[in-house]
Symmetry: C2
Subunit: 284 residues, 2 copies
C-alpha cells in the first residue's frame, strides 16, 4: 500500500485546525446544537447528492431537503432540552416524523419522475434516521452526562481511527472485508481497540482527578473500547456499501485530505447512540 506523504501532511493539518474547533463547540449546549446541525446538513447534502446524481436540474430542491434534515436536528436539540425540563407536550422524536412528512410531501409536489421520487424519499428518510437522528445522540450525552463525556465519545472514535490506521499500516495482514473495504485488517481492529482503551483510561483518570462525576470504571471501559471498534467498523462498512453502490470514491471534498465529510463521521454515527446506550445500561 503506497502512502502519499503530502496527503498525510494535508490530512494532519486540516485535522489539527478543525479538531480543536469541533471539541470547543462541544463545551456549551447551544454551540453543540449549532455544530451538529452544520455537520448533519453537510453530510446529508453529500448523501442526497450521491443518491440523486442523475437529477441535475433540481439543486434548489436538494438544498431544501438538506435544510429540512438539518432543521430537524436543530429543533430536536431544543426539543430534547424542553422535554427534560418537562415543558414539551409531545415526544421530541416526533420532530423526525414531521420532517419525514414535510420531506415526502415536497417530493410529491416537486418531482414528477417516479424513479427520482423514490430515490429522494429513500435518501431523505435515511438522512433523517441515519445521519440526523443518530448524530443527535450527542445531545443526550451532553444533557445527561455533560460536555466532557460527549467529548470523550467523540475523541474515542478519532483515537480508534488513528490507532487502527497505525497498527493496520505496520502490522496489517489479515483483511476484515475484502469486498466492502479492502484496507481494513484485523490487526488494525485489535490495535485500534487497544489504543482506545488506553485513551479512555487516561481521559477518565484526568476526569476523576478533576472531580467529575459519572466516571466509567476500568472494567466497563473494556466494553466501551470493543464497542467503539465494532460499531465504528460497521458504520464505515455501511457507508462503503452506499459509496460503492453509487460509484463514488469519496463522498465529497469538503475536508482536504480526509475524503468526504460523510467518510469522517460514518463510524461516529453508529458509535454515538451506542455510547449513550452503554452508559445507561451500566447505570453510569
Amino acid at each position: 500500500m503506497g502512502v502519499n506523504k503530502k496527503d498525510i501532511f494535508i490530512r494532519s493539518l486540516s485535522g489539527f485546525i478543525i479538531g480543536p474547533v469541533v471539541v470547543l463547540s462541544f463545551l456549551l449546549y447551544p454551540t453543540l446544537i449549532g455544530l451538529v446541525t452544520t455537520i448533519v446538513m453537510l453530510a446529508s447534502f453529500e448523501f442526497i447528492e450521491m443518491a440523486s446524481q442523475e437529477l441535475k436540474d433540481k439543486n434548489v430542491f436538494k438544498l431544501f431537503m438538506t435544510l429540512l434534515v438539518g432543521t430537524a436536528s436543530l429543533i430536536y436539540g431544543f426539543a430534547i432540552e424542553a422535554e427534560y425540563q418537562g415543558i414539551l407536550p409531545f415526544e421530541a422524536e416526533t420532530i423526525f416524523f414531521l420532517a419525514f412528512f414535510v420531506l415526502s410531501f415536497s417530493v410529491l409536489l416537486n418531482i414528477k419522475d417516479i424513479r427520482m421520487a423514490k430515490k429522494l424519499i429513500s435518501a431523505g428518510a435515511i438522512s433523517l434516521l441515519y445521519i440526523s437522528f443518530f448524530l443527535s445522540n450527542f445531545f443526550m450525552l451532553h444533557i445527561n452526562y455533560g460536555s466532557s463525556m460527549a467529548i470523550l465519545a467523540l475523541t474515542s472514535v478519532w483515537m480508534y481511527d488513528a490507532a487502527a490506521y497505525f497498527f493496520g499500516l505496520n502490522f496489517g495482514k489479515h483483511k476484515i472485508s475484502p469486498t466492502f473495504s479492502p484496507k481494513k485488517s484485523w490487526e488494525g481492529f485489535i490495535g485500534g481497540i487497544f489504543g482506545t482503551y488506553v485513551y479512555i483510561f487516561l481521559f477518565e483518570m484526568i476526569r476523576n482527578y478533576l472531580n467529575f462525576k459519572n466516571i466509567i470504571n476500568p472494567f466497563y471501559m473494556i466494553f466501551f473500547a470493543i464497542m467503539v471498534g465494532v460499531f465504528d467498523t460497521v458504520g464505515d462498512l455501511i457507508e462503503s456499501i452506499f459509496k460503492r453502490h453509487y460509484n463514488v470514491k469519496d463522498s465529497s471534498d469538503i475536508l482536504p485530505g480526509h475524503g468526504g465529510l460523510l467518510d469522517r463521521i460514518d463510524g461516529l454515527l453508529m458509535v454515538t447512540p451506542m455510547w449513550y446506550f452503554l452508559l445507561r445500561i451500566f447505570w453510569i
Copy 2:
C-alpha cells in the same frame, strides 16, 4: 372506471371478517403488541421482498430480516410499557437503533454483492422506521389514552378510505396526482374528510355518553379529520411511488381483494403518529 362486483364482494367479505378481529385485538395491550408485531412482519416482508426481487436464493435471510423488524416492534411495545413505569434504564427508541445495527451487521456477513447489500440495508432501515416505528405509535395511543382512542384512530382511517372511495366513485372529476395515483380525486378527498368528521363526532358522542375521558371536542375534530385525509393520502402516494418504482401493482395477495397488506396500511402508517401528536399538542 369499471368496477368489478365480484372484487367488491370479496373485498367486503374479507373486510368484515378481519375488521372485527383487528378491533378486538386493540382492547388489551398484550394483544395489541401481538397484532402490531404480526402486521409489521407481514408488511416488512412485502417491502423487503419488493425491494430485493432479484435476490432469489436468500429467502432464509429475508425471513430473518422480517423477523428482526417484527421483533423490534415486539420488544419496543414492552419497552415503552417499562419506560412508563420508570423501570427502563434506557430510551425505548434505542431498540430500533440496535435492530438497525444487527440488521446491517448481518447484511455485511451474509451478502457479498454490493448492490444487493445496499438495497437490503435501505429496505431494512425503511422497514424499521416507516413500518415498525410509525405503526408502533399505537402503543403510545393505547398506553396514554386507552384502547377506545386507539380504535378511533384506526377506524377513522378505514372510514376515510370508505368515504373517499364512495365520493370519488360518484363525484370524482378532478385528479389529485395523475402521475403517482390516477384514481384519487379531490372530490373523494373532500368527501372522505367530511365522512371522517361525522364518524369521529359520533364515536366521541358515544364515548362521552359512556363517561370516557380525553374526549376530542367538536372544534378539534376538524383538525383530526383534515389530518386523516392529508396524511392518509400522502402515505398512500409514498407507497405508490415505491410500488411503481419496483414495477409491482399490489404489494402482495395476503388479503383477497384488498391488494397487498402494505397497500392497506400505508395511510395508517402516517396517520397514527400524527394522531398521537395532535392529541398531545391540543393537550387532550
